[in-house]
């Protein structure tokens, strides 16, 4: 889970390592994920989102498909 300056630099990084190119996430989307996962982490009642919740959370900020589904038992990698 890494930062990149541009789509082209992600392409170069994946290409040089034979790593599949995955969907990119904007900073505003990443902030939403950070808040959802961690905003209450210092509190006693905090908890990680359950796998059954995660796909809905991702879809709610525009991240769709099996890549973002923790319960996907197959992943084509064609996103």
């Amino acid at each position: 889970m890494l930062f990149f300056r541009s789509e082209e630099l992600i392409d170069a990084w994946c290409g040089s390592r034979a790593i599949p190119r995955r969907p990119t996430v904007r900073m505003d989307q990443l902030w939403q994920l950070a808040v959802t996962w961690y905003a209450t982490r210092l509190e006693p009642e905090s908890r990680r989102p359950a796998p059954t919740e995660m796909r809905r959370i991702f879809e709610g900020i525009g991240l769709e498909g099996d890549f973002w589904d923790p319960q996907a038992d197959t992943f084509s990698g064609e996103q």
């Binding site: 930062f3 996430v25 900073m27 994920l33 950070a34 961690y38 905003a39 973002w68 038992d73």
Partner: protein
């Protein structure tokens, strides 16, 4: 409060206060309980994916979003320096702290420095991107790699 939750809160609040992962004996002293009880709680918290432990079973490698070891993702807030486990967690630390922070990292390909101001409502406008090479279903197969 459930004992494991007491241990978890003590760990996370120590990390938030200092940026450093507390030792198990420090948590035991703070909670006035035997160190072996804390060690057992660490193992249970790791099973619940709230901690990632080093092979010794007591040193904290990750208490997401905080890292127990230095990484390329640094966060500065209120005079404290933190390390994050990954780019996601780099924004997760300001979210957890609930206060402004500066995220300092880099582009993994060009190594161009990233300095991102994050307020309580989120990061400043930025065209930087996040990329994860591992599908969500496989994140915890090797969370350190992920």
């Amino acid at each position: 409060m459930d004992f494991d939750i007491q241990v978890k809160v003590a760990i996370y609040r120590a990390l938030a206060a200092t940026g450093q992962a507390p030792r198990a004996d420090e948590i035991a002293d703070q909670l006035v309980v035997p160190p072996p009880d804390v060690k057992k709680a660490y193992a249970r918290l790791a099973q619940r994916r709230l901690l990632v432990l080093e092979p010794d079973g007591v040193s904290i490698r990750m208490a997401p979003p905080f890292s127990g070891v230095p990484t390329q993702h640094r966060i500065q807030s209120a005079g404290v320096q933190y390390y994050a486990n990954c780019a996601w967690d780099a924004l997760g630390i300001p979210a957890a702290l609930g206060r402004p922070a500066e995220v300092i990292s880099r582009c993994e390909q060009s190594h161009e420095p990233l300095e991102l101001a994050v307020g309580v409502a989120g990061p400043e406008a930025s065209s930087w991107l996040f990329h994860c090479g591992v599908p969500a279903a496989q994140w915890w197969q090797d969370i350190v790699f992920t």
